[in-house]
């Protein structure tokens, strides 16, 4: 359950940046290739935030799909799974999205 460690990282960061003000809402962007499970994140969030300046804050997840650029057909393609393969059959692709794991913003009182 690495989501707990991730949630603790997020709580640490937002509490530091909030500098003592209560945090009401946090938005986190999660790419499909990051091995972070949204449900597990939400479960861990309250646990990690308890007793901190982010206690009771809402967690919004901005889930992003995995996208590759295919050099064979020169198009961007959304991946249905983790296999970096273009529907045209080419494996000559570069992952352009899906590895995001960012704290986008927070709302402080």
């Amino acid at each position: 359950m690495h989501e707990l460690a991730i949630a603790e990282n997020i709580v640490d960061t937002v509490c530091t940046r909030a500098a003592g003000r209560p945090v009401r809402r946090v938005t986190v962007r999660i790419g499909a290739l990051t091995a972070v499970l949204p449900d597990a994140m939400l479960l861990c969030w309250d646990l990690a935030a308890t007793g901190t300046a982010a206690h009771g804050a809402a967690l919004d997840l901005d889930l992003r799909p995995a996208v590759v650029f295919c050099r064979a057909c020169r198009t961007d393609q959304r991946l249905p799974d983790m296999i970096p393969l273009c529907p045209c059959g080419s494996a000559d692709v570069t992952v352009t999205a899906g590895r995001e794991l960012h704290i986008v913003s927070m709302e402080v009182a």
Binding site: T13, R25, I83, A91, H102, I103, S105, E107, A109
Partner: protein, 218 residues
């Protein structure tokens, strides 16, 4: 708590694992500065990581040091010490992976000799360790023939971060239903750039290739 003041939205755009990644970078710089090459060894429990390390410690003509990660017990560290390498055991308790801070504390205790090869044997787990950079120079994922050839497809995040995939326990191939070629294809499907080796850490098959990979800059 006073909510009279209007809420303010603050844009952060910070990487969630920024702190771990910064610590990992510092670890890598420290190791590189001492001519130490660090390998992060990851797999499910029971794939033969420690057996492969014991043999590598005995046979590789280069000083080896080891950081052992497990939830509990010093059993693996005892085995590595008996094989002849300096070792530090990290017990993560409930934790399912090592991170860069744990690795740094272990590095400070271990103080691996300059020019050595440092193995970090991660907690046996095919999911969580894939996210945490420890400061290694290369990542090795081990899968054994008793686990099933479809593991790369079932745990793609782990196999996607590997520089090298080692298929271990090939001495057991006559007794199990494991298709080596299918496993290779599955690894390549999720990670076209990964090198793949087949070995038997107990019998010694394929180990010259493993040692060559380690010496080749890995």
């Amino acid at each position: 708590m006073c909510y009279d003041e209007p809420a303010v939205t603050v844009t952060l755009e910070e990487r969630v694992l920024a702190r771990n990644d910064d610590l990992a970078r510092a670890n890598r710089e420290l190791l590189t500065g001492r001519g130490i090459r660090a390998i992060n060894l990851m797999s499910s429990p029971g794939s033969g990581k420690t057996t492969l390390l014991e043999r590598t410690v005995r046979e590789l003509r280069r000083p080896v040091a080891v950081i052992e990660g497990d939830q509990r017990t010093p059993l693996d560290a005892d085995r590595i010490r008996a094989a002849g390498a300096p070792v530090v055991q990290v017990n993560t308790g409930a934790g399912c992976h090592l991170d860069a801070a744990m690795t740094r504390r272990a590095l400070d205790d271990l103080d691996p000799p300059p020019g050595s090869l440092l193995f970090v044997e991660n907690v046996g787990n095919l999911i969580c360790p894939s996210l945490f950079d420890l400061g290694e120079h290369a990542r090795v994922v081990i899968v054994s023939v008793t686990e099933g050839a479809d593991k790369p497809l079932k745990y793609p995040y782990m196999f996607a971060v590997a520089d090298l995939v080692v298929i271990n326990k090939t001495d057991l191939l006559p007794y199990v239903d494991f298709d080596v070629d299918a496993c290779r294809r599955h690894v390549t499907a999720v990670n076209p750039g990964a090198t793949i080796l087949t070995v038997s850490a107990t019998r010694g098959d394929g180990l010259p290739d493993w040692y060559a990979w380690l010496s080749g800059g890995g």
